[in-house]
Amino acid sequence: MEPLDVELDEAEVEFPQEPMLLNVGPSHPAMHGTVRCVMELSGESINKVDVQVGYLHRGFEKMCERGTWTQVFPYIDRCNYVSPMLNNVGYALACEKMLGIEVPERCQYYRMMLGELARMSDHLTCDGAMAMELGAFTPFLWMIKGREMLWDLFEEECGARLTHSFGRVGGMAHPPTDGFKENALAVVRHILSIIDEVERLLLGNRIFLDRLEGVGVISAEDAISLGWTGPCLRAAGVAYDVRKAHPYMKYGEVDFDVPVGQASDCFDRFMVRIEEIKQSARIVEQCAERLADSGPVNVDDPRIILPPKEEVYSTIEGTIQHFKIVMEGLKLPAGEVYSYTEAGNGELGFYLVSDGSGTPYRVRIRPPCFLVTGGLERVITGQMMADVVPCFGSLNMIGGECDR
């Protein structure tokens, strides 16, 4: 076979004059999660984008209207499947706000510890996947190894690696296991060493930096207008963190910093997440000091919390209580509530409407990812085709949460 370019005169090559339409996704290695981008390219730069989501839509909000308030937890788990513990706690807090109860202090610190560990797992996954998509496979494996340790920890606490369903209205499904604190601190130390190694490997890498710095810039005004929250908004220089701005649980009493970016590019979004892992480690350490070894985890209210199994089988009160909660569901007062927490990708809000029966009337999940992905169009318009990969990776779109 002869080489194709044997008598190629570049002046004679005809390049297309029309813009080219290119389809990426929904099943594409760079579009982790399932999202489809239809782009109009002029050469290598992007003129127009249509971002299409919904490939993972499973109708969670409809399904929530069919069970009890407690049966919503498994759906909430499957929204952000990388940090389900944060979602569990967020939903439990929404229901508790409606009931007007506060869980005991031990439970609050326990929830905070679990939540921050879940946040670490979320950020490890996002940064690892981002590095992998740019060709750096080693940091991805290291970070996933760290995530695996976190998931082992969760498995020990609640029996499931990924979809915990561990939260309950008025407490947690189980008190902390005996070795929880020591194990958590050991894992956190290990993750910090992984982060240290990853930083040394990536932050001196010319290719990695060139692919991220100055790419996917968005102004703070645009980010606010697009409803961005979480690491993506903080990378744009806006220090809005629900944990600081509207402290819930005991976040007002622990000491941590809110990292913000300056350039609002992909690199800043990467670094904000790295820094947040370190801040989460600080919170975990402080909570571990304050988490009591004994004491109640659940609120003391038989209308909300299932009685212990021994009582169910031996006393008539326990049996009735158990039956009422399982068959009718716990009753939330009629009305509506909007409760918000800082999840892995930003403000996770729950707008709950109750009609006073045991079944939710409406469960609206305000997904941070949905709005962040809504800004993808603005981020990548005008960029080069190759920049779509780091831009999309840095937004950390979680399909389950975006599409619900």
């Binding site: 919904g54 009305g335 509506e336 809000g349 006073g356 609206r364 305000r366 949905f370």
Partner: protein, 200 residues
């Protein structure tokens, strides 16, 4: 959430406010649908409010009411840290003419949330630049989060394969789930439902 904001709206738009309440500390103002955009624009630009973030936009379906839908927004001011919830009631009991002004030219985040609201609830937004379905496919018929949309209805885009000797599990039927808890929830009674479902 902030009581001062409620008073601000009441002072500026006395005719637009239908009712206010503050359940669980969340200040809520129910507005005339005609003033929907004006109030949002005011809250966005007024220096006392400065609600620069549209946090959430959704709708709730009450099939027995007229107007049927409640469109709900949650606003946040990043500078002042206060929040408010605004609502407007739209649509007749059939749900055909549910329509309200779009707020996309105030906040860009409204774009996708209004599309989702149209997709899931069938509320139209006047002046929205691109009101397409977002989570579902264009061929989909109906709006699934309406309470009269059956939860077990399926609309596969590609027909299911016919396979012999496979016991298909039924989709989540009307009689499944939590029969005791659902008493007040059957918005539109289904004449075909069997007796058990009606009792519950």
């Amino acid at each position: 959430m902030s009581q001062a904001l409620v008073e601000l709206i009441q002072a500026k738009f006395p005719q637009a406010v239908i009712e206010t309440h503050a359940q669980h500390g969340d200040e809520t103002v129910v507005l005339e649908a005609a003033q929907w955009k004006a109030v949002h624009q005011f809250l966005f630009s007024d220096p006392r409010a400065r609600m620069n973030m549209l946090m959430d936009l959704t709708a709730v379906d009450y099939p027995e009411r007229d107007p049927r839908f409640e469109v709900v927004t949650h606003l946040l001011s990043l500078d002042k840290g206060h929040r408010i919830r605004l609502k407007a009631r739209v649509g007749d009991p059939d749900g055909d003419d549910a329509e309200i002004d779009s707020v996309t030219d105030i906040w860009a985040s409204a774009n996708w949330m209004e599309r989702e609201c149209w997709d899931m609830m069938g509320v139209r937004f006047r002046g929205h630049p691109d009101l397409r379905r977002i989570l579902l496919y264009p061929e989909f018929i109906g709006h699934p989060l309406r309470r009269d949309y059956p939860a077990d209805k399926i609309q596969p885009l590609v027909a299911y394969r016919e396979v012999d000797n496979i016991e298909k599990l039924p989709p989540f039927g009307e009689e499944e789930g939590m029969p005791f808890g659902r008493q007040t929830h059957l918005g539109v009674p289904d004449p075909d439902a069997d007796e058990d479902a009606q009792v519950n």
